[in-house]
Symmetry: C2
Subunit: 234 residues, 2 copies
């Protein structure tokens, strides 16, 4: 590091930029394509380090990472998922329910490694720079760690799936997480047989990809003159 | 796309992987290094497309992007920041307050483009796959979009700073955002004179970087035997 503390060679090349975009656009929420192959500890360590280098409000680094490989613990988490999944099915009607029940929505037991990312909202004390007016910011920091982890995994050719169909307290019970710690994400990681070209819910006709221009506004909410040059690039 | 819908050539090379890690590790929360240079629309479009390709719960894509370049609108957002910043300073005591007041915490007026990322929690209807048991999941999806945007910007050699010292309703007022839309992040974007090697709050001695091994556990909360090979890699 130079004495100034500046990054000595800050510029990204086009090839580097393109690799980052390739990662962002080819990342998938993996549910059904996991292989049983283990993930090397060196690879897992790089993925976790990427998560740990996420931005965090007031540099509080509120996250912990629980690396789950115990079949028994995974079985308990899977049971919590199965219960919530059955409850969720009742919320959809008709064809939608049939489609829902046929979707593969998790790979808890199929994937060799699960990781729970948590948020300790009391870390570094009650007053946190940048959280004084928006208390949710610490949770959002932990989500940034999740997205870093997901992208790092894709770059390591490792698939990740986020399991969110679960009661939070049952997830806490399965992992022994105390009440003051917020489980933010339960992730399944593993090598995969393939990555899909498109998100599975898009391919299944559940919902279409929105057009970016339809969700882009100028200066104020839902303000668009129509002649903004940016629209032509979207 | 092949008929199977699989990514035809899914493997990332080491060079691509390293570019992704470089991006993750050299991303900074930029406050005071913005240059007035404009950002090309083609660049901005790629950055927004990266945000739009974040994971979203039930593929609901709950985000909107308000691209703010109007000096008047920026001035109103800055006034909302200034008010909250003065309130926040009162929450710190003694030396800590002096340090806080000397920190540069936003670049709203210095940066050529601001972007507000919002979450429309009613998008696609009341029942969303994956949000049935954790209602926060839509907000978390929008945060994933923020982190994608941030990393894409870094790969484009564009700095990003997240402004969170603001009352949510005052931010809504400044941008005309209705009550049912949740502003998730207000971001400042621009070319920069330099990127710092380390987070500014770390360099300023506000808080140290935690050791990754201190926040990594095995199978259950705070469980660590000490002989896990992964610990040697962290």
């Amino acid at each position: 590091m130079p004495e100034s503390g500046h990054q000595p060679d800050p510029t990204f090349s086009e090839a580097e930029r393109d690799a980052v975009y390739r990662c962002i656009h080819s990342r998938r929420d993996v549910r059904g394509q996991f292989l049983p192959d283990s993930i090397d500890d060196a690879v897992l360590a790089r993925i976790l380090a990427a998560a740990h280098h996420a931005p965090s409000v007031g540099f509080m680094q509120p996250w912990d990472f629980i690396v789950v490989r115990s079949p028994e613990v995974k079985k308990n988490v899977h049971a919590a998922f199965a219960k919530a999944h059955a409850e969720a099915a009742q919320m959809f009607e008709g064809d939608r329910r049939d489609t829902y029940q046929n979707l593969k929505l998790e790979g808890i037991l199929d994937s060799p490694v699960n990781i729970c990312v948590t948020c300790d909202r009391s870390r570094t004390g009650p007053v946190v720079i940048g959280r004084t007016h928006l208390p949710e910011m610490d949770l959002f920091s932990a989500v940034c760690a999740v997205q870093n982890l997901w992208l790092a995994a894709r770059a390591e050719n490792v698939g990740v799936g986020w399991v969110s169909i679960v009661h939070r307290d049952e997830l806490r019970d399965a992992l022994g997480i105390p009440a003051h710690i917020h489980p933010v994400a339960y992730l399944c990681l593993g090598r995969v047989s393939h990555f899909f070209e498109r998100p599975e819910l898009e391919s299944a006709g559940w919902l279409p990809r929105m057009k970016l221009a339809e969700v882009t506004w100028f200066d104020r909410w839902q303000n668009r003159q129509g002649d903004e040059p940016l629209l032509g690039e979207l």
